[in-house]
């Protein structure tokens, strides 16, 4: 038993065993799901046969990444109120999906965002553009998740050596590829449902436990957290309130969070796995309730970790703020509860990367291969084969990227994924669904323009270079050390890139003569009524 650098008191063998049980159970389910996966609609959209509640649970499983579980609980434990602000943006964002996007998208598309745009525009260029931004968002998000896996290995399994961590990242990647290749969307969805149930049940139990220790009084819990971590925990501004720039940065982040969710491709794709638009609505309602309740739990868990573990011990643990929730589990329920929470954290990474991989592979196979390269002249079997090969390539990229990025500071990648989704995807989707005049040039300008502005601003932001060197660690908080080429003051580009993309989409549209009223009429009638929408296949 070599629990070298992991959380003190943790039992690595136990953690690994619980995780392996999860993997074994889910693999069996994935194999069973593979028996009924034959057509493209089965592979990409699980035959559109999931119910609203099932899909809602899967959406929350897809959305509640390790960053929102470990990250937010840890941020609340150490930075108090400012950590709570994140979760509110992540939740309110779902109203955009509910009111403006989910149902209309379900009625007009087949598998991808490109389907919706291609409905009334020139297929080839808009599908290529949709695929580029889908792949960009998926890869940024994927890389962030895989890099996070490296840190978790150290934290939860006590494996601190380079080679050992690389092996675990590779194993996680291979299991994820198996889920996607064998089970397709149906298998991936079941993995997400099981993971969401475990995560929410575990968080609920810990929340009751923490509250019970303080006589179910939030005020007493806060008092205990303040006694250990200082009064500033209850007030906003501990993390973002330092200067005018950090305040502006927070505003920018808040806007990207609330507008990015409804443009995340792996979220959009989930709406195609249900039979009707009404089920898509029901899925979002379930997702909103589950995600909302979960973030309320993290509020208690975060302050609970602050009170019972204390910010000092959290900051000194491997993985720092990410260690808050696991340390709290250890404090409450000993090694067994820690093992359960660790396994859930790994399951979370697995489920999220599987969802991202299937989305990226669908976008490449369906939009680029079948419709751009082959002009629609391809058999379903051929398209699904290409999707599987793409999933393999993306999985390999994710493993390689995760190994390369594990010691890098890549926290900005999640913010980048949300900023691209909010800048490149959301304006294009909204214009496409609601604006009669919108056309091909407008779509290309908003997608490529939004993508380009976001990436340029990030590259020249302090997230990549130029943050001052911390005297304690001797390292800068930026990704690149030693050089400073930043000129954009904010870490988060949303404040500039989102309005810019909306403006570009409008400008591109009015500068082009293309109009297609007949196709828009068909699209609008279908979107609002569900006439001629893709049906579920009989199981």
């Amino acid at each position: 038993m070599t629990a070298a650098a992991g959380v003190e008191g943790s039992n690595s063998t136990l953690n690994i065993v619980i995780f392996l049980i999860f993997v074994a159970i889910t693999l069996v389910i994935v194999f069973r799901a593979s028996r009924t996966t034959k057509t493209a609609s089965d592979y990409y959209a699980a035959g559109r046969a999931f119910t609203g509640p099932q899909n809602g649970i899967a959406i929350s499983g897809d959305y509640l990444s390790a960053a929102s579980f470990l990250g937010i609980a840890g941020a609340i434990a150490v930075n108090g109120y400012d950590g709570f602000l994140y979760s509110i943006g992540f939740l309110v964002a779902w109203l955009v999906a509910l009111l403006l996007v989910a149902e209309l998208l379900r009625n007009t598309g087949k598998f991808t965002m490109g389907d919706v745009l291609a409905f009334r525009m020139r297929q080839t260029p808009v599908r290529a553009a949709a695929a580029v931004s889908t792949l960009a968002v998926s890869l940024f998000y994927l890389l962030a998740q895989m890099a996070g896996a490296g840190g978790l290995v150290n934290l939860l399994l006590g494996i601190s050596g380079e080679a050992g961590q690389d092996v675990v990242i590779a194993v996680v990647g291979v299991i994820m590829i198996l889920y996607v290749l064998i089970g397709g969307m149906k298998g991936t969805t079941w993995v997400q449902i099981i993971k969401a149930a475990l995560l929410i049940a575990g968080a609920f139990a810990m929340t009751l436990w923490v509250l019970g220790k303080y006589g179910f009084s939030l005020s007493d819990l806060f008092q205990a957290a303040v006694d250990k971590g200082g009064k500033a925990l209850l007030d906003p501004g501990k993390q973002y309130g330092k200067t005018g720039t950090t305040k502006l940065d927070f505003l920018s982040l808040g806007i990207a969070l609330v507008l990015g969710t409804a443009g995340l491709p792996h979220v959009l794709m989930r709406f195609y796995t249900v039979p009707t638009a009404r089920d898509a609505r029901r899925s979002v309602v379930w997702a909103i309730v589950l995600i909302g309740v979960f973030y309320l739990f993290t509020l208690v868990l975060g302050y609970g970790a602050g009170a019972l573990v204390g910010p000092d011990r959290i900051s000194k643990a491997p993985g720092t703020t990410n260690a808050a929730a696991p340390l709290l589990a250890l404090e409450l329920g000993g090694p067994v509860l820690l093992g359960f929470i660790s396994a859930v954290a790994f399951a979370t990474i697995l489920a999220v990367v599987a969802g991202l991989t299937i989305t990226a592979s669908a976008s490449f196979a369906h939009d680029v291969y079948a419709n751009v390269l082959k002009k629609g002249q391809v058999s379903t079997g051929g398209e699904v084969r290409v999707a599987r090969v793409t999933a393999l390539v993306i999985g390999a990229l994710a493993i390689a990227g995760g190994i390369l990025a594990k010691s890098q500071n890549v926290a900005f990648l999640v913010a980048l994924a949300f900023a691209v989704a909010a800048s490149a995807n959301l304006p294009t989707i909204l214009y496409s669904l609601f604006w009669k005049r919108f056309n091909t040039q407008g779509a290309l300008w908003s997608i490529y323009g939004g993508l380009l502005v976001t990436i340029v601003l990030i590259v020249f932001s302090p997230a990549v270079s130029g943050k001052p060197v911390d005297p304690k660690t001797g390292k800068s908080a930026s990704m690149v050390q030693g050089v400073d080429f930043h000129w954009f003051p904010l870490d988060n580009p949303g404040l500039v890139s989102i309005p810019a993309a909306f403006l570009l989409g409008w400008l591109g549209t009015i500068l082009s003569k293309e109009r297609n009223s007949a196709k828009y009429a068909e699209m609008e009638v279908r979107a609002l009524t569900g006439a001629g929408a893709e049906k579920a296949v009989a199981p």
Partner: protein, 103 residues
């Protein structure tokens, strides 16, 4: 072939679109402004947000929890509105379109 443009111009469809937009557009503006107000207060009005109401419960915490409440309430309102005011009209138009010969 369905004549989509004539369906689009029909009074039933115009009414459906009006009902959808009259709900979702103002509601979106409302929750976005309400969220923006919250973010701006948390960002720039630290003193106000740190005011204690009772025990350790601050104005900021109550504002934050109210964002949860408003999200749940708007979700409920939309579902009720869609069930009563949108779905019946949409179903009727869809049934008519899909019953047309030649589809």
């Amino acid at each position: 072939m369905t004549d989509w443009e004539s369906v689009q111009e029909s009074p039933e469809f115009t009414e459906l679109r009006r009902r959808l937009r009259v709900f979702v557009f103002p509601m979106t503006a409302l929750f976005l402004l309400w969220y923006l107000l919250y973010v701006l207060l948390a960002d720039y009005a630290h003193g106000f947000m740190s005011t204690k109401l009772f025990g350790n419960i601050t104005v900021g915490l109550v504002f934050g929890l109210l964002q949860f409440v408003s999200t749940f309430v708007i979700t409920g309102l939309y579902v009720r509105y869609a069930n009563r005011r949108l779905d019946p009209v949409a179903d009727e138009i869809r049934a008519r379109v899909e019953a047309e010969p030649g589809r």
